[in-house]
């Protein structure tokens, strides 16, 4: 990929990340940290590509570890975030 296009992507993504978070109330900080932790679970797809290109046994082992860890990041991050957010209810909503 063109170096400068990558630089633009990095810059715009950084601005987007900063802006999106800046309006988050304190009460959501923990779920949000968990949510952003889930989002970088996208590393899973990179791990899959790395394992998919692995040729030697060493590369296969490292690639396997990468996919294992990446899947853990994505799945674990999603489940804990969802569990936390599910509980947030206002007085108006029916409680179970």
């Amino acid at each position: 990929m063109e170096g400068f296009i990558a630089l633009y992507i990095f810059m715009l993504a950084a601005v987007a990340g900063y802006e999106v978070i800046s309006k988050v109330p304190v009460i959501l900080h923990t779920p949000l940290m968990s949510g952003s932790n889930f989002v970088h679970g996208i590393v899973l797809i990179g791990a899959m590509i790395a394992l998919g290109h692995a040729e030697t046994v060493a590369q296969q082992v490292i690639g396997f570890i990468a996919v294992f860890l990446g899947a853990g990041n994505a799945v674990g991050g999603y489940v804990v975030t969802e569990r936390m957010l599910e509980m947030f209810k206002s007085s108006g909503e029916k409680r179970t």
Binding site: G35, A50, G77, M87, F88
Partner: protein, 457 residues
């Protein structure tokens, strides 16, 4: 060609869903929707990745996904809400480790990488490895597996040398060295550096560190995304890197600590100065029946919960007490300090678990003016965040930290297990104040007694 178009389009949609999802998480009303959007993006991106041309090892891929995802699924479903911070640290560490492993495979591969690609691959590997081992240590400390926080100049020096060693090996790799032994030494040094930099940090500061590692993992993922030419990884990684950095700063600010301070200076490292301030006076005890009467006949009550309440699993009883009081016409609110619990917002999660609606929960800035109008402030399991010394005593290690002004309420009831100082070991003047009464006992038991007391009235 069409296949590649499908893959690229899907990655684009996934990136949009991640950003919209994070945005939706900025309000309690839409937060749940947000995580579902982001989840849909993740599933889409993962599925189309199987369609890439020229991939092998599909069986291994599926086994690794099922195994890693399965372990994470079970642990995530089981973890108690009180243990959430260390669990987030674990999943975050896994992401960092994955980024580092991707870099290792790229560096081991035969093909020649362009200089810029090589630099970012090495940088991502370094950051990912530090986040991986650092997060594991953070987990072990919060879980109580490691209790000591060794801190000495010698250790810092050793750590500095190892860090420099990792950087030196990284520079050699980035210059095109492909020696496997060098690669191994690089990862080993980075791993040890992550351990040693986290080990001296105390439990109270750990949330800031976990948040920092979260941001670092995001950066590492973004860099490895560039190495693989994958825009979805680049965008998601950098978005998390930026937002995580901001979140880390917000947390450090709420704790009145700078990030450098958290990482390189121990809390209470200069303990010699603080013992001088003898608060004088005595603590007044109150029994549950009297406290219940005080609460039942109050107009406005503010409850200040701390991590101690969660440890005692008293949140359900406290909510039951709140409902009883509200039935009698008492206005009850919860006041939450930014660092109550183990990270900002953690206490909100614990109260939400007990069924407390989020509109009854106020943060420091909203509620501080209301203490003066409150009849009773109930402090349960909190200590430093209500210590007036932060306002008045320049010698106190917490001087300048924003606190909840519970001492301005007409009465203050402190539910506490014993007379000792808390987590940080700092004496609390509030306990000796004229309008403060101490209700000694385990949080859950004390709350049950208060409920029984209110019911008899």
């Amino acid at each position: 060609m069409t296949l590649s178009l499908l893959i690229q389009t899907s990655y684009f949609v996934a990136a949009v869903l991640f950003i919209l999802g994070l945005k939706a998480m900025s309000s309690p009303k839409t937060a749940r929707r947000g995580v579902i959007w982001a989840g849909a993006g993740m599933v889409l991106a993962t599925v189309v990745t199987f369609l890439h041309e020229g991939l092998h090892n599909y069986a291994l891929m599926v086994i690794a996904i099922v195994a890693g995802g399965g372990v994470a699924w079970v642990s995530a479903k089981r973890v108690a809400m009180t243990d959430m911070p260390q669990m987030i640290a674990v999943y975050n560490g896994m992401g960092g480790g994955a980024a580092a492993a991707i870099a290792a495979n790229e560096l081991l591969a035969d093909h020649v990488l362009a200089p810029v690609v090589l630099v970012l691959a090495v940088l991502g590997a370094l950051i990912g490895t530090v986040a991986f081992t650092g997060s594991v240590i953070a987990f072990a400390k919060l879980q109580g597996l490691i209790r000591k926080s060794p801190r000495s100049t010698a250790l810092q020096l050793v750590n500095l040398l190892i860090g420099l060693g990792a950087v030196a090996a990284g520079v050699a790799l980035a210059l095109g060295q492909t020696d496997v032994a060098l690669l191994a030494a690089f990862f080993a040094a980075a791993a040890v550096f992550g351990v040693l930099i986290t080990l001296p940090i105390g439990g109270a500061d750990m949330p800031v560190v976990i948040s920092l590692f979260n941001a670092l993992t995001g950066l590492a993922v973004g860099f490895e995304g560039f190495v693989l030419g994958n825009p979805a990884m680049m965008i998601a990684g950098i978005v998390v890197g930026a937002s995580g950095t901001l979140l880390t700063q917000l947390m450090a600010k709420a704790m009145n600590r700078s990030l450098g301070n958290v990482l390189f200076a121990g809390f209470g490292a200069d303990e010699g100065t603080e013992s001088a301030g003898d608060s004088g006076g005595t603590m007044k005890a109150i029994d549950a029946t009297d406290a219940a009467i005080m609460l039942a006949y109050a107009n406005r009550v503010i409850i200040v919960p701390g991590y101690g309440m969660a440890v005692a699993q008293a949140q359900h009883k406290i909510w039951e007490l709140t409902e009883l009081l509200e039935d009698r016409g008492v206005k009850v609110k919860f006041a939450i300090h930014p660092v109550a619990g183990r990270m900002p917002g953690h206490m909100n999660v614990l109260l939400a678990e007990a069924g407390v609606p989020y509109d009854k929960i106020a943060d420091l800035e909203e509620i501080n003016a209301e203490f003066a109008r409150a009849d009773v402030a109930v402090v349960i399991g909190a200590n430093d965040v209500v210590n007036p010394a932060a306002r008045s005593n320049k010698d106190s290690p917490i001087y300048g930290m924003p606190i909840l002004n519970v001492d301005q309420a007409q009465h203050c009831i402190v539910i506490k297990r014993g007379k000792g100082t808390g987590f940080s070991g700092i004496e609390n003047e509030l306990f000796f104040a004229e309008n403060t009464s101490m209700l000694y006992g385990d949080g859950q038991k004390a709350a049950s007694e208060l409920i029984a007391g209110v019911k008899t009235l």
